[in-house]
């Protein structure tokens, strides 16, 4: 009887999460493309064998992990700094907090367009400035070695506020008298950051790590708008590759395989982070 109240939530999860997963798993075991006339033809896992031997998929996986690792770690470091600044007793703190949240409130597509313009060659501000000081145009978005860095910058700009908000909430759970007691024992500000702030922030850092890894691993809109996965597929993420297979190559069976594979990868990563997080939480007994 009590479980009846859970039905709406349960139905929602079933419809938007469980059913698509089952359907995509089912699709990944079939050939579904223009060649089959979009009919489902069982192919005994040949999609999965193709995936295991697909160099482009594995390269995209590495590129996605690189994107996620760099953007998430930079975001967390910046977010800690910003949160520390925002938690100080300063005038106009409320306004500063609101302003710092703005990038996160913007739709990704809009801000990605903004960043594409900033990196534009030769008219974007970055190339303009570098031309002015004599470095010529940098042409970052068409450089296969550098374009991914531009996407990381875009992601950091957009998502740091979100992480900073989580860290700020964490900072506020640390009572000020801990710092005072530590100060009276002779601790310097740097020591109190290392010995008190960081250890007590760890659960919050890990929490944002899980949130952000999951998001960054599925990155699509930012890259689609900024680079479209190029140049030479150097910024292509798994999500973009899955999208290309479905929408450009019209190979729905293989696209579904990629999505299920990336889901499994992501779940594994998040599970490990989560286990680590819970261990830490019980250790700190917070």
């Amino acid at each position: 009887m009590n479980y009846l109240l859970l039905t709406p939530a349960f139905l929602l999860i079933l419809l938007v999460f469980v059913l698509p997963l089952i359907r995509y798993s089912w699709m990944s075991m079939h050939s579904i493309s223009v060649i089959t006339g979009l009919d489902y033809i069982p192919n005994n896992g040949s999609n999965w064998i193709r995936l295991l031997n697909d160099d482009r998929f594995w390269r995209d996986t590495i590129q996605t992990i690189r994107f996620a690792a760099f953007s998430v770690s930079i975001e967390i470091v910046l977010a800690i700094i910003i949160a520390l600044l925002l938690s100080q007793r300063i005038k106009g703190k409320g306004i500063l907090r609101t302003i710092s949240l703005l990038p996160w409130a913007l739709p990704t597509t809009i801000m990605a367009l903004g960043w594409r313009w900033i990196f534009n060659t030769p008219y974007g501000p970055i190339d303009q400035i570098s031309s002015l000081i004599g470095f010529g145009t940098l042409d970052i978005l068409s450089n296969p070695d550098l374009a991914w860095i531009a996407t990381v910058i875009g992601d950091v700009w957009k998502t740091t506020p979100f992480v900073a908000l989580i860290i700020l909430a964490g900072l506020q759970t640390i009572p000020s008298d801990l710092y005072e007691a530590f100060k009276m024992e002779g601790g310097s500000p740097l020591q109190s950051f290392i010995k008190i702030t960081l250890p007590l922030l760890k659960p919050y850092i890990l929490l944002s790590l899980v949130f952000r890894l999951a998001q960054a691993f599925g990155v699509f809109d930012l890259i689609q708008v900024m680079t479209g996965g190029g140049p030479a597929s150097s910024t292509e993420s798994i999500a973009i590759y899955a999208y290309l297979n479905a929408m450009r190559f019209l190979d729905f069976g293989y696209s579904a395989t990629i999505m299920i594979a990336s889901f499994i990868l992501l779940i594994t990563i998040c599970l490990f982070t989560w286990i680590f997080y819970n261990k830490l939480k019980s250790k700190l007994s917070i």
Binding site: L178, E180, K195
Partner: protein, 325 residues
């Protein structure tokens, strides 16, 4: 060792928190700072600790001016109201952290921490985190940390207020044994007058950032310097009633007794307090509280009376005491 506060002042956000406060606490003396919330007692403690800096005035420990030196160099053992134990460290680490930071050798640190743990009977808890300890145990750890500083002065900020009444009573002798019997001055901030009276040699009463009265618990109770002190100290509260123009009389509820002569009264209601009972009376002098033995019975001939020397007289304008107890 002596602590001297020399007319210190502190303003926060343009509000006077402490105004012209001067105090002297001798070695081995325990001074309780008592006052309603917001009276500036915690700020006083923070000024002495160096967590806040005075706007003017000076603070001396043993003739050394510490007004502007850093908290650590003041060598003060402080017990915070919340205990301020580090939640991510074990009890042992909590105690040894300060020693480590101050560059005391590992061997010496182990020796000192274990002797303190032994003294406070905390050895069996040394590997636990603060969250796994009871309130009383946490308080003992906070005390241990203050003791480890081997301080020239102890500051206790409401050290008992987070404990239940029973535990408080049990911990008082322990606090006495560990801290109050040493030869350092102790400043004990509390809003609990019973605690102040039972623990302190002298009590300083603050109101609105000013020192209103300082003296032994007995002095303060017997000869309150103002209406504020008279009504703040002593439960049940003192009876105050206007005598004549410009004069207010006060009489403690326990100083009123039943007599054949005196004034008539009507009992409004009675509060049963165990060892005694408190009568709320309606009289020609207004409503009065009278504290009697629990077993007393009142008959219709009884009147209430008090001895003249038990009266406290106050000026109704200045609110200050007129007679000399």
């Amino acid at each position: 060792m002596t602590l001297i506060l020399n007319s210190i002042n502190k303003q926060i956000n343009k509000n006077w928190i402490i105004q012209d406060l001067s105090l002297k606490v001798k070695d081995g003396e325990c001074l309780a700072i008592l006052g309603p919330s917001g009276c500036g007692k915690s700020t006083t403690l923070r000024l002495i600790a160096g967590l806040e800096i005075c706007d003017s005035g000076s603070i001396f420990i043993n003739d050394e001016d510490i007004t502007n030196i850093s908290p650590v160099d003041r060598k003060i053992g402080m017990v915070f109201q919340s205990y301020a134990l580090f939640p991510h460290l074990t009890i042992y680490e909590n105690l040894s952290l300060g020693l480590k930071i101050r560059g005391i050798s590992k061997k010496e640190s182990i020796r000192r921490v274990s002797s303190i743990l032994d003294l406070l009977k905390l050895e069996h808890l040394s590997t636990r985190k603060p969250a796994a300890l009871s309130g009383g145990q946490r308080q003992r750890v906070a005390l241990a940390r203050a003791l480890l500083r081997d301080p020239s002065l102890y500051l206790l900020d409401e050290p008992m207020s987070n404990l239940d009444a029973q535990l408080r009573e049990r911990l008082r002798p322990e606090l006495r044994r560990l801290i109050l019997n040493g030869n350092q001055p102790v400043i004990y901030v509390t809003h609990d007058q019973h605690e102040a009276m039972s623990m302190a040699n002298r009590i300083a009463i603050l109101n609105d950032g000013r020192l209103v009265q300082i003296g032994t618990p007995k002095d303060i109770y017997k000869t309150p310097a103002s209406i504020f002190v008279a009504s703040f100290v002593g439960r049940p509260q003192i009876n105050l009633f206007p005598e004549s123009a410009g004069l207010i009389k006060g009489i403690r509820p326990e100083d009123i007794f039943l007599d054949n002569k005196g004034i008539d009264f009507k009992i409004l209601y009675t509060e049963w307090l165990g060892t005694n009972q408190l009568f709320h009376l309606d009289t020609s002098q207004g409503r009065l509280r009278m504290l009697c033995n629990a077993d007393i019975s009142i008959n219709s001939d009884h009147k209430i009376n008090w001895k003249q020397e038990k009266l406290h007289l106050f000026d109704s304008k200045t609110k200050l005491r007129i007679n000399n107890g």
